[in-house]
């Protein structure tokens, strides 16, 4: 059923989206403020269940693109993604019937809501990554045959570029990234325009609702002084993201981060409180892999989420700091993201990682003497 998204949903939604963003997808504080302003100015947003979208409807996903390290300092006005949408509509010679997120994340779950508030379009409760990924070809839309092209990239001065690379979504990413770098490291996009029938076939369904579920589970646990990670594991059990593993608890000991070729790349390390164990997380905008004592415990496309140990607040890659006390969790992904064709596009090898994919729920549970435990 469709539902009306109001200001009251935003705290939970942004927090949950940032958890699903696996360290990327943008800062939830900025994302929340953007939607709040848009809803106050233009009114609430209708969220459509994917089953409600007409097969013949034109759905145009919208998003922000760029290095989180830059996004952090370059806040959009909210008009930019609408510029991208309009540029693509003009190019297509057709008007969108709805917009949709391309990924989950503190900002990228929110941008389509801003577009929806400003344009009066509904938002489809689904996306093309089921988490956040750093590159535009890494979408289930593309994995299952939708071309990203033509796509529009828009800047803050109303400028736009409509890029058409035919069926080559990787080439599209390459050119769009070049434009984004020239636009200052962050831009807004409209891409993978598709029919309602294609949404049903290729999108990860109900990820906005999922983000809200994740965010509210954490909030409720805080209110009831129970363990938010346990609460979250319990809630996820009923969703397509059924398995949660606690990977590590400890203190951030090192962060290496650089903005390179339009991405934030680097790694973070943590040591357990007893000093006996070590966590290493590698990221390209998003967390790609978590190793504990040198062994892979969770790897793309499964979700590696780094949470603040006390409140379970998600920490994005650009906010990781020495000394933070963190809990790293792994969350399993839906089957549609684990097929051979999906793994070819956003599995470990697609990032140059020398590991095979292994579902997080099948990795061994490791209980460390300093109080690690598995909630399920």
């Amino acid at each position: 059923m469709s539902w009306l998204l109001t200001e009251d949903h935003l705290d939970d939604l942004a927090r949950g989206a940032a958890v699903l963003g696996t360290g990327g997808g943008g800062d939830p504080y900025v994302g929340r403020l953007l939607v709040r302003q848009a809803i106050r100015e233009f009114g609430p947003v209708t969220v459509l269940d994917p089953s409600e979208v007409d097969d013949g409807a034109l759905v145009v996903p919208t998003a922000q693109m760029g290095a989180p390290t830059v996004v952090h300092e370059k806040i959009p006005s909210g008009a930019e993604p609408v510029t991208a949408l309009r540029a693509l509509e003009d190019h297509l010679g057709a008007r969108a019937d709805a917009t949709m997120p391309i990924e989950c994340g503190g900002i990228n779950s929110m941008i389509p809501l801003v577009v929806a508030a400003r344009t009066g379009l509904p938002v489809v409760d689904a996306d093309g990554m089921g988490r956040a990924f750093p590159e535009l070809q890494m979408e289930t839309f593309g994995v299952y045959g939708i071309t990203g092209s033509p796509m529009a990239v828009a800047g803050e001065r109303g400028e736009s570029a409509v890029i058409d690379t035919g069926a080559d979504n990787r080439r599209m990413e390459w050119l769009a990234r070049g434009v984004t770098i020239r636009l200052g490291g962050v831009a807004h996009i409209a891409e993978y325009s598709m029919s309602g029938a294609d949404v049903k076939r290729t999108a990860i369904p109900r990820t906005l609702s999922l983000a809200h579920t994740v965010g509210s589970a954490i909030r409720e646990a805080r209110e009831h002084h129970t363990d938010p990670v346990a609460q979250l594991a319990d809630r996820l059990g009923d969703t397509l993201y059924g398995h949660l593993r606690v990977l590590f608890r400890g203190k951030i000991s090192d962060v290496e981060r650089r903005t390179e070729a339009g991405f934030a790349r680097g790694r973070a390390s943590a040591v357990s409180f007893d000093g006996e164990h070590r966590l290493d997380v590698e990221f390209q905008n998003e967390h790609l892999v978590a190793l504990v004592d040198g062994e892979v415990r969770c790897v793309v496309p499964d979700l590696v989420c780094v949470l603040d140990s006390e409140l379970a607040e998600p920490i994005t890659t650009e906010s990781l700091r020495y000394g933070q006390r963190v809990t790293a969790i792994g969350i399993s992904t839906p089957a549609i993201m684990r097929t051979p064709e999906a793994l070819a596009v956003f599995g470990p090898a697609a990032f140059g990682l020398p590991y095979d994919f292994r579902p997080v729920e099948s990795t061994p549970q490791v209980l460390h003497p300093d109080g690690d435990r598995t909630p399920r």
Copy 2:
């Protein structure tokens, strides 16, 4: 009057265009081969005098964009500029009635001829630089109010980007350069689409004919064993480019060249044969300024051309080599290129040069003891 351009024109045209290209605008050998192939395959090209273009006609200039250092190694098939033209036409929802060069140069006087041969469109005998300049905002079209946007950039795999920066032609250049870099350092473009009336108002007229005149003057002098520079000066006297000055004769002693941010930048030096005098030329794709013994003798927008001393063959910046015996000449530009609004866009200050513009014909004639002379 319109005329039919055939293979027989190409040697003179390419040579003359390379002289007017002031070190840039692409390699004339490659340009000549491209047009020869296109004419052999598709037939000769109709060249329209600007006075013959209907005021209401749609004229879409086409060109190659990139660093000459890369162009030199990455030869186009000829299809790329047509891809750019078609992408822009599709975006505009209109078909071009003619194409036109954006600048003079060994390749960029030729690309519109390739487009014309392949599409059957006529080419307008005019351009937007009256020489070659490195950046897309440096066109008389823009100086006199035409917007470059929307423009199309195309790559060798059929991919394209349609860039729209409204009235900001400098921003257009910035984004198009970013796309060009991502396309490997060279791309093909269609931009500054305009009416026939605007062609008459803003273009430098008859520069294809001029290139042919320049090239044939040099050839004829060679055939008659007379001084090609003197012959060239004589022929230019009857054109909008009325003044030619010999700036220097000597031997290239140093070349510093780097490919940087999508441009070939650097400087070349020469010493006179008696070792007493020194020439310094700075370039950004094209020659920007010639200093003799530290004094400005010719500066943008006037033309600094470096010719092989024996045959007066133009030498492009990417072909400058230690030991070449060269004659550097300066050529005056038409009045339309020397107005305050034109100098603001492509005068010395636009390139960060700390010199005022001074017409080449008003600089002092310097006769060096080793046989320099002024042919007029």
